[in-house]
């Protein structure tokens, strides 16, 4: 299907939002490897990180296949500065304690499943193909994070307090998940990707049910903080990128 340049841009922005969100989240999760509360969790976190990393790479490659000027997955990951990243701010909020990492994951996993489920039906064959495998992985991530959130939300008073604190801290970033940006309406009209705002109700119900089971209280829905696609990031992203990109920037001539 030959796409208008407007559609190409819209598709790219949407795919980069998803890829960047996955990569930033995976990058953060790797920090838990060797430091988790028990070995079983080291394994579990690494599994999720590997899946998200793999999915990010596939989305990047899809973008580069349509627009070769972007180079390859490593150019996108390693050579863009803060302002060029489109990830959801939720993903770049620091790990914090285990509760904050878990709540961030649970909120994202619910969103990820809803979004990928819609993308399985995309009129864009490349997107549909990647989404078909990715949604299975995301469903497993959600199974795990939801299960763990219930256990920790309804565990001890300390675990409950930590989870609630994390939820309060992260909740303001949830609104961004459902903001319609320029180009999203076109993608929806073409059947390429759903309008972000259309995902909110399903997500809200799932998260509401989960929070109830976990004995946690959700905040009031706030208006969206300026987000990744508007190039308004948190301070944390710069440090994260500096660490992730250091090798490629220090050795521009080298291949690895």
């Amino acid at each position: 299907m030959a796409m208008s340049s407007e559609a190409v841009v819209a598709r790219r922005e949407r795919l980069l939002q998803l890829a960047d969100s996955n990569l930033i989240l995976a990058q953060q999760l790797t920090a838990w490897c060797g430091h988790a509360p028990m070995i079983e969790e080291d394994l579990a976190q690494a599994n999720v990180a590997l899946d998200l990393l793999g999915q990010a790479r596939q989305w990047y490659r899809l973008v580069c296949a349509s627009e070769p000027e972007f180079g390859d997955e490593d150019r996108l990951a390693m050579l863009r500065d803060v302002a060029q990243w489109r990830n959801l701010l939720l993903c770049e909020i620091a790990n914090g304690d285990f509760a904050q990492t878990l709540v961030r994951q649970a909120l994202y996993d619910e969103f990820h499943v809803v979004l990928l489920t819609a993308l399985v039906a995309s009129s864009d064959a490349g997107i549909a193909e990647i989404a078909a495998k990715a949604v299975k992985e995301a469903r497993y991530h959600r199974l795990r994070s939801a299960d763990l959130l219930v256990r920790l939300g309804d565990g001890t008073s300390e675990s409950h307090a930590r989870c609630q604190r994390a939820l309060d801290r992260l909740w303001p970033h949830v609104a961004e998940l459902f903001v319609d940006h320029e180009g999203d309406a076109l993608l929806a009209a073409m059947g390429v990707a759903p309008l972000p705002s259309s995902l909110e109700e399903t997500w809200g119900q799932a998260v509401g049910t989960l929070a109830r089971k976990a004995t946690l209280t959700l905040g009031a829905v706030a208006s969206a903080r300026a987000g990744g696609r508007q190039k308004r990031h948190t301070e944390h992203l710069g440090f994260l990128l500096a660490e992730m990109q250091f090798m490629q920037r220090s050795y521009p001539e080298a291949t690895w």
Binding site: M38, E40, L43, A44, N47, Y140, L143, R144, D147, R151
Partner: protein, 93 residues
Amino acid sequence: MNDAPLWEVFIRSQHGLAHKHVGSLHAADAKLALLNARDAYTRRNEGVSIWVVRAADIHASDPREEDTLFESPKGKEFRHATFFPTPEGVKNL
């Protein structure tokens, strides 16, 4: 201190007939044990079905009774097909 019970893990592979013991892990309950088992023991396509059993629920024969329990089959090789000659030229035996 973590008192999460020990679970033994059994996996059946895609083309396997039986669940095979692959190892153990700790988890607070069966549901978490299954999730942990999936993460620890199926990363290389090892299986399509997982059983977890509390280690405390596995009962084994007493090794000191090995002779008592397992002497009888010896000397009764007629229970194996290989005991019997297969006459040449006779099919479907």
